[in-house]
Symmetry: C2
Subunit: 344 residues, 2 copies
Amino acid sequence: MRSATIRDVARAANVSTATVSRVLNRSEAVADPTVDRVLKAANELDYVPHGGARSLASKRTDTIGVLLPDLHGEFFSELIRGIDAGTSAHGLHLLLSRSHGDPQEAAAVLRAMRSRVDAMLVMSPYADGEELSSALKGGVPLVLLNSSGGGGGRHPTFAIDNHAGAFAITAHLLETGRRRVAFIAGPADNIEAAERLRGYRAALASTEQSGELIAQGDFTERSGLAATRELLLTARPDAIFAANDMMAIGCLQALREADLRVPGSVAVAGFDDIPVARFVEPALTTAGVPIAEIGRQALECCVAIIRGADPGDRHRIFTPQLVVRASSTGNSEHGPKSPASERI
Amino acid sequence: MRSATIRDVARAANVSTATVSRVLNRSEAVADPTVDRVLKAANELDYVPHGGARSLASKRTDTIGVLLPDLHGEFFSELIRGIDAGTSAHGLHLLLSRSHGDPQEAAAVLRAMRSRVDAMLVMSPYADGEELSSALKGGVPLVLLNSSGGGGGRHPTFAIDNHAGAFAITAHLLETGRRRVAFIAGPADNIEAAERLRGYRAALASTEQSGELIAQGDFTERSGLAATRELLLTARPDAIFAANDMMAIGCLQALREADLRVPGSVAVAGFDDIPVARFVEPALTTAGVPIAEIGRQALECCVAIIRGADPGDRHRIFTPQLVVRASSTGNSEHGPKSPASERI
DNA sequence: CGCCCGCATGTAACCGTTTACATAAAGACG
DNA sequence: CGTCTTTATGTAAACGGTTACATGCGGGCG
């Protein structure tokens, strides 16, 4: 059952294909009765323009490519949700891909996407923006999400101030009286993870006390669990700051296993404020990031570029908000009590 | 900076465009030295075939369309992860879309995707498969995920046996000595939610005791929280079965607020076994569903259809596995103790 | 009344591939 | 040593849209 083409519609409406095209794209003035005839014919034939043909002729694909480093967990589902909200608001399609770490692979995926999208939204905390954009040879506008520096500022970048967020969390833990604040790091080659580590160190350094206690993780719950077990064997932390919420959740689990009270014996904090963070027990103190909103704004930036509009600030930095919940305060034997519990 | 076309490559390699195409598609025998020349030229020019042109000429898009009803939470991120694993294994692209409930909107989205994909994977628990496929007029192969019945069996369907899962959970709660088992339902018009409700009722009916206790939810954590508050006011459940894990997590939160011990005073169970379910406190008893695996298999089915291979069983039903964790057993004043804690 | 202008529409070239068919060269074979 | 396959490559016609340009037509204006 061959689907109807623009020619079929033209014939049915007794006009030329050019007119049908004009009606469907609202590109030029067409007389009202003609418009009606065309729309009626298109409807009856259940005509849908062929995307490939359209993109071939017009050099637009009405599609945004999205490249993410991973798809695990709520961080990414929130991000995708924000992006999707944007694409569907603008009538665009969303081509999703994932490149596991390796910058080479990321570059390959970008090349494969190149001819099918009008712009790309790329989050690749493992690769330099420069590297990626050279993979594209500038053919497609690129918007970077939380990537390293952004390759000399050639591409708009949306980033989280990981350093500030980690600094704030660490400072909060110290201020509430913790003395041995450990850190569960993210993947070593992940730029965001590295920044969070720097933030942690900077905060420790700003007080004259306590050396660093670091365990290695990889952003998964599992690794948070393992890292915490390890920390409990080697050090005696009275606070653990995990570089993301998923690891913090694994951390809570390990502390429970070890019968350590949170925040009584050990305070815990995460990073990202994924939706579930407020529902774990105890609710997680974290660095709040408007994940979906960032996705949405980054997408809007893509759209602005495509449409030739002003994309606004080329580099938007989101400073995470310290979200204090029960895991770092409340009925602790350390510091003051929680000022107010959050309303859900 | 216009990107290179097949003609540029042909010129550089001193062959015809047909030969270039043959080399790139491995479609016919080409002499080795020619292959080398072509590949070298393509490489040097950084040639990437134009997807639109290709799809226009070959009627393939190498893209699978995925339509989901929502993007909230880990259920969908797991599903997407499974699907993505499949598409990237086969070198296919993934066009993602979300249609909020409304079957009309879903149909519209399908139409818009129709010309850009080779097959579609659709999860639309609000709409009848029949309805959706008529929106496509059979132009594109359709694989359904957890949809209602599957429109007379015309499309392969991958589904969870929601009834059996819910029955098993409810039976488990009853067997462990609970007498007032409440149910937090999913959206009323969601077919999966309806099946789970039926399963709950069937299990209650099979024992002669206790009438139903039902609160309305909508699959979000928030609604689980609200529904539980309501249940606590109106009924005195000693077990709460939420129709999915997210609501169960909200439920745990509400019970904590009310200072009710879990599973001591109230047992809790969910449905789906999302990754975080084992990390909440107490770990959640749930109906385990291999979410990512279902996504992957459904995708493989799409691929088989596209490639003209045997798609295998047209209707695959996954029976959820009862996953007993601490939220429904362990140090309860009811029933027996947990047989064994899970190894993480 | 003739001219020019602007509006609505048609004509046809072009976008970058794939592929059926044609062709040329090289062996195979009697 | 012709003829017949086989193999490698070229030629050119689709594929289904968009859009620059051409055309025809009615009305305003000097």
